[in-house]
């Protein structure tokens, strides 16, 4: 959508020219409604909206799940209902389908947004903070039970918090315990273990890795983890921010390693959805699958048999202490009518109490960001996820959340697919990515 052009300005550029006239003007233009809305509120003293917070106040709550979408909706609804009941606040729910909500976020925030809305950490949050479309929440922080790494994930480049985390899920290598036990395989720790495990699987006629990239985004997870294992978390994040070269030796090394690993993956991934790939692992045709924990949804009948390990280290000097664990949570829209009540609600939404209420009212719990939340409803995978993420030194958000949305969707998806079609033309792919990155990141 062409409105997102404004977000095509790289974070780095915005930071360096934060105080320049152009960005001030752009900020003004974008937050025109916010300013207007604030004046209006000041003028009428909030007469028509009742008290600005607490009992009798009205908060509009935009959620990216619709009724019937499963536990994700049930959890959000339970949180909203409980808050309304406890505080006497009138919570008006606006529920929009997940993908629709995400695709129209630009018009949503610049139009007539709800006060509190569900959103994601990472660049996706930071770019709205830069443009003044979401409210500074640094007075809501610290939140009891939120660790420093979550606080960091909620912080925009200007050093202020704009986000309250709700839950997260890690990306890891999933496998079936029974299949591994039968063959006497164990999760690999080192690169040598890893390579010999894959060779052994192939020897037994099992494809080591299930792989599907029809939708374009699943293979980003592979790129992320290879880049973090080969070049480290810091390089990965600056690459995502457009501050490193895509045609440099580091990225070429990632693609080159990927090329050597491709024979261990299912062939022709572009014609396969992740569900089909997951089914192949569920049937035991493939040994492992690198995906998010949502993989369990596609193989529900063997979900109890699933286990996972973090991707093993590929370079001993870098180790294996970083992983992708996308965080979902909430923001307050700058264009919302009732900022104070919104902040009160978002602070509660980040609490352990809110997470417990959500998990008690849904078939499947989420992994709460708040460390004070009860883990009694978690299944084995989730308990392990919480441990693994807690132990990780660095957490990335996944490529399409860590970098500019235009870049991720219009450049990286086709580029990675080109690479998977023709893995030998690494120079061509990286050169083309860099060329397009130049025009997007400036």
């Amino acid at each position: 959508m062409s409105l997102s052009r404004s977000s095509a300005v790289p974070r780095s550029a915005l930071v360096t020219m934060a105080a320049s006239r152009r960005s001030v003007l752009r900020g003004l233009a974008l937050s025109g409604l916010a300013v207007g809305g604030a004046n209006l509120l000041a003028a009428c003293g909030g007469d028509d909206s009742g008290p600005s917070s607490g009992s009798g106040a009205t908060v509009k709550f935009g959620m990216n799940e619709v009724e019937g979408a499963g536990p994700a909706y049930d959890r959000l609804k339970a949180m909203a209902d409980a808050y309304a009941k406890d505080t006497g606040t009138d919570v008006k729910i606006n529920s929009v389908e997940h993908n629709t909500f995400q695709e129209s976020i630009n018009t949503y925030l610049q139009g007539s947004p709800d006060d509190v809305f569900t959103w994601f950490a990472g660049f996706r949050m930071a770019q709205f903070a830069e443009n003044g479309l979401i409210t500074d929440l640094s007075d809501v922080w610290p939140i009891d039970g939120m660790s420093d790494s979550f606080k960091e994930a909620s912080t925009a480049p200007d050093g202020k918090q704009y986000f309250v985390p709700k839950d997260y899920y890690p990306w890891a290598v999933f496998y079936r315990k029974s299949v591994f036990d039968e063959n006497g395989w164990a999760p690999p720790e080192t690169k040598d273990d890893f390579m010999s495990l894959m060779d052994e699987m192939q020897g037994k006629g099992v494809t080591p890795f299930a792989f599907g990239d029809k939708d374009g985004w699943p293979a980003m997870g592979t790129f992320d983890i290879l880049n973090m294992r080969l070049n480290g978390y810091d390089f990965h994040m600056s690459l995502m921010a457009g501050e490193e070269k895509w045609d440099g030796d580091e990225v070429k090394l990632v693609f080159d390693t990927w090329r050597t690993l491709l024979p261990y993956h299912q062939a022709d991934p572009l014609g396969r959805t992740w569900q089909e790939a997951a089914t192949a692992m569920g049937k035991g045709e493939c040994g492992m699958y690198l995906l998010g924990t949502f993989v369990a949804d596609a193989v529900a009948d063997v979900a109890d048999d699933l286990d996972f390990f973090t991707f093993p280290e590929l370079d001993a000097s870098i180790g294996a202490d970083a992983l992708d664990a996308p965080i979902d949570g909430f923001c307050v829209a700058a264009g919302g009518q009732n900022q104070e009540a919104a902040k009160a609600m978002i602070k509660w939404l980040g609490s352990a109490e809110a997470a417990d209420i959500a998990n008690d009212n849904a078939d499947v719990p989420f992994i709460a960001a708040n460390s004070g939340a009860s883990t009694s409803t978690y299944n084995a995978l989730q308990k392990k996820s919480a441990e693994v993420v807690g132990a990780a030194a660095n957490i990335a958000q996944f490529m399409d959340r860590d970098t500019n949305a235009d870049f991720a969707n219009t450049v990286m998806i086709p580029s990675i697919q080109d690479f998977l079609k023709n893995p030998d033309d690494i120079d061509g792919v990286t050169a083309s990515i860099q060329e397009q990155a130049n025009s997007i990141f400036g």
Binding site: S2, H98, Y108
Partner: protein, 314 residues
Amino acid sequence: MSTETLPADTGPTPSGTGGSRTPPKRVEGGVMSKPRGIVVTVIVALLALLWLFPLLWALINSFREYDYTQANGYLSFGGWTTSNYEEAWTRGNFGLHLKNSLMVTIPAVLLTLWLSSMVGFVLARFSYRFNLIMLGVFLAANLLPPQALLIPVFRMFREIPLPLFMSDSGSMLNSFWALILVNTAFQMGFCTFVLSNYMKTLPHEIYESAELDGASVWRQYWQLTMPLVRPALAALATLQFTWIYNEFFWATVLIQQGDKLPITSALNNLRGQFFTDTNLVAAGSIIVALPVLIVFFLLQKQFVSGLTLGSTKG
């Protein structure tokens, strides 16, 4: 504009009737001699099948269980169920969204036809100097892609205040008024063009006698022209209903409140964040396509006659 949205509706019918009806009438001699007639029938049948295949495929799979097709592939046979339809109806909340769609589509179609018939009447009946330019402007607007107007329209609507009883957001955004107006504006160019051309085919003498009998301009429009252009209006109403009902772009841009989205966007409710049950989506698509099919079959006669009547003018 989405002229191609439902090719299977408009495609087979004219060619089907034309292909099968013509041969028996001219058994000997004509362009459609018997062997040629057979060839034409075969080709037309093949083309019709080609058009209908995706629709039929979706229809068949909408009656099958996802688990069954996932395990056995789509080329298998079995796993019959109607649960997809029940689930699609409740999960997509189609009752509410169908109502939203009708609340946008019906006023928009009526408004478009009314306004463009008035413009068409003036352009066809009077010879002002600006007539040609006017028609040109209406046609030119037809060529303008709506995407190019996205930002201006969005910003304009954001600034237009509406009283709270008309729109609970206080502006044109998130209100049905916005969708009705936008659709009317975008469809008027085409309707004006068709209607003014159609009105030009009405014999001028009728208007001379009407004039002699003392009919005012309004009466000439309302009581003389409108009844005579009924076939064209019916044809346009069918088309406009299809187009506006199927309209997706403006609805997703101007409406951000989940409970106000029209049914085309509600189809998205059947998608999951990571996981999409394609059989369920197929069932949902069939439900969404039904109103258009009903309108088309009800007005089919007028639609076809409207097409031919328009075409003789050239």
